[in-house]
């Protein structure tokens, strides 16, 4: 039996590495990296190498399932779709289209996401469409939109090799975007200066020239101090500021006192801050890469603005090897946003509240479109609890495990009159559904993913869908048909993409063939830039001049006290992804999970009587979990850290629900906790065993 090779894109993170799938007799037997892929160049990370396990037929949902009092029962597509349509109609008639919505997936293709928002807007007549990006980078979109006019990575991965200085801010790329992390290592070994700003001693921090180990929540204090030093020393890029920015006077005034107490607030000495200010501003080309250590704070949006202020002040934008570059999590979170799976924008960030935009879509789709901006996923949750929202279609996401507000989401989902979930495997969210639809995996479909550097890449089908599974846009189309609409009747995914390009200016000159030939196309790709755009904002910003916006330090919402004396932060483990529903099917990645999930400095551990790998209890004002401790110098005394998304010990039981006011991003990066050793030799109990206990009761 000969092997078939299919070229496609890794389904895990926003790097979007090139990957070949090797199949034999319609079974995926292996994956291999693509030597000629522009980013990954013959490499993959641990997740990529293990992706064959993720879609293994074992545990997959292969038929539509319908909830009955006796549990889920297999049903036919027809029956499932009829039921969905009938209930949707009923809700629409009784409560109106504002009572239904769709949550699409940052892991599905652009075609799937486009279909989801079109179903919402053109068929269901609602703007209640969102996806699950909120816990990663909504502050990025909110912040950079205000300052630059676009929320995407400004530069490209290849720029890492064409810069003099890389500033990694609150990101752990070797673990979360490993291939880019590797690029940074390589560039650094070849002479690029590397500065890492992180409360933890990450792998890159250990390799870096400079590590600013700042206290959690002091990002703005640090950035304002850096800007102040730059202005005081006239290290700014005067020409850039004059010609391309506005708001310098206000910014200058706002940082006037930024050096006062900054050593104490940040925990970093002034000379060290000065050295970084000088290095960043005086480098010919300096590039900022940042991650969730910037966004997951109540000050998330402001943190992003502060970073943007720094880049603008030094004119480190719009050229090769510069820029401000968010490292986004899921493989297609960029695409889900691009496709308008957001309540306030159509594909290509065309605003819902703009009548011209609405007219354009209405004309093209030959139907009325709703006027009012819709609900975010959080909004839908709240509206459900208030009894105003009743029907939800959700796919490719598992908010019951991943949402920071787990308990609230669970309550809301339970209250819905209709919950449709399309999934690969029986996740905790799927278990709550009324109807479960079997979804095709990335290897079973054709479409496109847009990576973090705005590169739209072609995903190709290597296997037939398992059982009766269908590609998301196909079952979305089938729902539309049940609702007597032919809006989603495309013959194939290429036709979906063609419609996308017709309506989305930044995608307008793209097609599959060109994408294959050039290994993807970076948007904007329009008739003026037919081969795409590697660097944004070269000559101008979408909003004309960029805005410098003063921001002031906002302390973390919950500080330590005598009862909760340690600060907890969260991280991700490089061999795991999301809730682990795919990665944990790999025996190799499963084995790699460390015994202990609470990382703690030996000094703190010693004081508490906690030993390496011993069982500990961790509690916050919101919850209590048990796990094992891992002693490590990577954390400073006073700070402990847990990876999130492990059902054994879900850190979102502990984390603070206080939110960034603008984007509702919860403060996942800092909350106050206590840690206590458990009986020597005892085992940590899983969460469901602990649940009944009150927080006070255990302490």
């Amino acid at each position: 039996m000969a092997t078939k090779v299919t070229t496609t894109i890794c389904p895990f993170c926003g790097v979007g590495c090139g990957m070949n799938l090797l199949t034999e007799k319609n079974r995926l037997i292996s994956v291999e990296p693509q030597i000629d892929h522009p980013i990954s160049r013959g490499q993959l990370c641990a997740k990529g190498w293990s992706s064959a396990y993720g879609i293994d037929p074992k545990d997959r949902i292969t038929h539509p399932l319908i909830r009955t009092p006796q549990g889920f029962r297999q049903t036919s597509w027809n029956k499932a779709l009829e039921t969905v349509a009938a209930r949707l109609k009923q809700i629409m008639e009784e409560t109106g289209p504002q009572a239904i919505g769709i949550i699409s997936s940052a892991r599905a293709t652009n075609e799937d996401n486009y279909a989801a928002q079109k179903l919402a807007r053109a068929v269901l007549k609602t703007n209640n469409i969102d996806h699950c990006a909120r816990i990663c980078h909504s502050p990025t979109v909110a912040g950079l939109n205000q300052t630059l006019g676009s929320g995407a990575m400004t530069n490209s991965a290849e720029d890492i090799f064409e810069t003099d200085l890389v500033l990694v801010f609150g990101a752990d790329p070797t673990e979360n975007h490993s291939i880019l992390g590797g690029h940074i290592i390589r560039a650094h070994l070849e002479g690029t200066q590397l500065i890492v700003v992180d409360p933890r001693r990450t792998r890159l921090a250990k390799l870096a020239d400079t590590h600013l180990q700042l206290k959690p929540g002091s990002n703005i204090a640090l950035l304002n101090a850096i800007i102040k030093i730059i202005l005081d020393n006239r290290w700014q890029d005067k020409k850039f500021l004059d010609q391309r920015c506005e708001g310098l006077a206000q910014l200058t005034a706002s940082v006037a006192n930024a050096l006062e107490g900054v050593e104490k607030t940040t925990g970093i000495s002034l000379p060290k801050i000065e050295a970084v200010a000088k290095a960043y501003s005086q480098s010919k080309r300096a590039m900022i890469l940042y991650g969730m250590g910037v966004t997951q704070y109540v000050s998330g949006t402001n943190n992003v603005i502060a970073l943007s202020n720094l880049a603008l002040t030094c004119g480190q934008l719009g050229r090769k090897g510069t820029g401000i570059n968010p490292l986004r999590g899921q493989n297609n979170v960029q695409g889900a946003c691009d496709m308008g799976c957001l309540p306030n924008v159509y594909p290509g960030y065309q605003k819902v509240d703009n009548p011209e935009v609405r007219a354009k879509f209405s004309q093209h789709w030959k139907t009325e479109v709703p006027e009012h901006p819709g609900l975010t996923s959080m909004g839908m949750t709240k509206a459900t609890l208030a009894g105003e929202f009743r029907g939800l279609i959700l796919f490719g996401e598992n908010p019951v495990v991943t949402d920071p507000d787990q308990n609230l989401v669970k309550r809301a989902l339970g209250k819905l009159d209709l919950l449709v979930v399309a999934e690969l495997t029986m996740t905790d969210t799927a278990r709550m559904a009324d109807i479960i639809l079997p979804a095709a995996s990335f290897a079973e479909k054709t479409g496109t993913f847009t990576n973090c550097e705005r590169r739209v890449q072609h995903v190709q089908q290597a296997l037939p869908p398992l059982g009766e599974a269908r590609t998301d846009w196909q079952w979305l189309a089938a729902i539309a048909q049940q609702l007597e609409s032919d809006q989603l009747d495309w013959p194939d995914s290429e036709a979906v993409f063609r419609e996308i390009t017709e309506l989305t200016p930044i995608y307008s000159a793209m097609n599959y063939a060109k994408m294959d030939q050039l290994h993807g196309l970076q948007w904007p790709c329009s008739p003026e830039t037919p081969e795409g755009t590697a660097i944004l904002h070269k000559d101008t910003f979408p909003i004309g001049k960029a805005r410098l916006i003063p921001v002031h330090p906002i302390p973390i919402d919950e500080n330590i006290d005598s009862k909760y004396p340690l600060l907890l932060t969260t991280n991700r483990l490089h061999f795991h992804y999301g809730c682990g529903s795919m990665t944990r099917k790999s025996p190799l990645l499963e084995r790699e999970i460390p015994t202990g999930l609470l990382f703690i400095n030996p000094a703190d551990a010693n004081e508490l009587g906690v030993t390496h790998q011993s069982a500990v209890g961790v509690g916050s004002r919101r919850g209590y979990i048990e796990t094992r401790a891992m002693l490590t110098d990577d954390l400073p005394p006073g700070l402990v850290c847990m990876p999130y998304h492990f059902h054994e010990a879900p850190s979102n039981q502990l984390t603070n629900t206080a939110q960034d006011p603008l984007t509702k991003m919860p403060e996942l990066k800092a909350c106050a906790v206590f840690v206590q050793p458990l009986e020597p030799g005892s085992f940590p109990r899983p969460i469901d065993e602990i649940s009944g206990l009150s927080v006070e009761g255990v302490k």
């Binding site: 092997t3 990529g48 070994l189 792998r203 190799l588």
Partner: protein, 326 residues
């Protein structure tokens, strides 16, 4: 058997002939001369996932693979050397041997160095060694090739193909070209120095730890390395309820590779794992047992390592470090 040599107009002639009795791997067109594929043919013999046995509740039944005869067509010398090493390593492994005995190996001489390769430094190429292949292809010109049958199996596979015996001058040409190819390889002093330093245990622990810091435990090197052979096992239930044990490629660079159930881990530090990997590839004691180093100079680890600790990167670090010491 004495080597027999023939003229061949094009490898496709041979390929088409062999296709009558063998599945050809890789199935695609002409062999890539001078550049080994990113993925070696290792998986054809030591399968990435191999079923070991099934258990029906009472009995355990070995499940040996039974592939149809297949031809590995156009394999470079580095990969053939790796196969001949694995033939030794897996000599008593029934699964490997079940596949191996169905395989016909058709080598191809490299006539110019590939980007990261260094086969001459580890005695693994660029010309195919006769004892590592059944048939060897050597390009003389765009229209003319040499075809060498190294053993009875190779000769037998040619049956039915009308071929003219080759003359001595062309055979001498082959040797000359291989010799001149060897001369074109770039300087390998970092490899020589690195190998010496490793074997004399002169690489400071610090340096191993620094290199270890760069290992992202991706398993790329071990997956692509044609001599890597470690595996793990797991058990799954089949649809009829039987239990099936399967082995799968594993990587000694994973933190959990040696971690025991008690959590004790003899190679907890990444530096120790990286050190052991390279000691395993270049150890003199290994060479004593297997007649050669564990590395065949294909250079794949250099390409695939996101942490920049492939063979050249590591050896350069080791040798420059050693020079600083002197």
């Amino acid at each position: 058997m004495k080597i027999q040599s023939f003229y061949l107009n094009h490898p496709n002639t041979l390929r088409d002939h062999l296709a009558k009795s063998y599945r050809i791997e890789p199935p695609q067109a002409a062999p890539g001369q001078n550049t080994p594929p990113l993925v070696s043919p290792k998986g054809q013999l030591f399968a990435e996932h191999e079923n070991l046995f099934t258990f029906d509740g009472e009995c355990f039944r070995e499940t040996l693979p039974n592939p149809e005869p297949f031809a590995l067509f156009g394999v470079q010398s580095c990969d053939l050397t790796a196969i001949s090493y694995q033939d030794q390593f897996f000599a008593n492994d029934p699964y490997y041997q079940a596949r191996r005995q169905q395989a016909l190996l058709i080598g191809i001489d490299c006539l110019s160095p590939c980007q990261h390769g260094f086969c001459p430094s580890v005695n693994a190429g660029p010309g195919v060694k006769h004892e590592t292949a059944d048939l060897i292809l050597h390009q003389l010109s765009t229209t003319s090739w040499l075809l060498l049958a190294c053993n009875q199996k190779g000769l037998g596979a040619l049956e039915g193909l009308s071929l003219n015996p080759a003359n001595q001058p062309e055979l001498n040409d082959r040797d000359d070209r291989i010799a001149s190819c060897i001369e074109q390889f770039s300087d390998d002093s970092h490899l020589k120095q690195g190998i010496t330093a490793i074997n004399q245990n002169q690489v400071p622990e610090d340096l191993w730890q620094q290199l270890g810091l760069q290992c992202l435990s991706c398993s790329g090197c071990t997956s692509l390395c044609p001599t890597c052979s470690c595996y793990g096992t797991w058990e799954q239930q089949e649809s009829n309820g039987d239990i099936r044990r399967q082995r799968f490629w594993d990587s000694c660079l994973y933190e959990s590779f040696q971690r025991e159930a008690s959590q004790h881990n003899p190679t907890e530090k990444a530096g120790e794992r990286v050190k052991r990997f390279w000691t395993h590839k270049f150890g003199d004691n290994f060479a004593k047992e297997f007649g050669r180093y564990g590395c065949v100079g294909c250079g794949r680890c250099e390409v695939t390592c996101p942490g920049v600790i492939g063979v050249h990167s590591v050896m350069k670090r080791i040798s420059s470090d050693a020079q600083l010491d002197n």
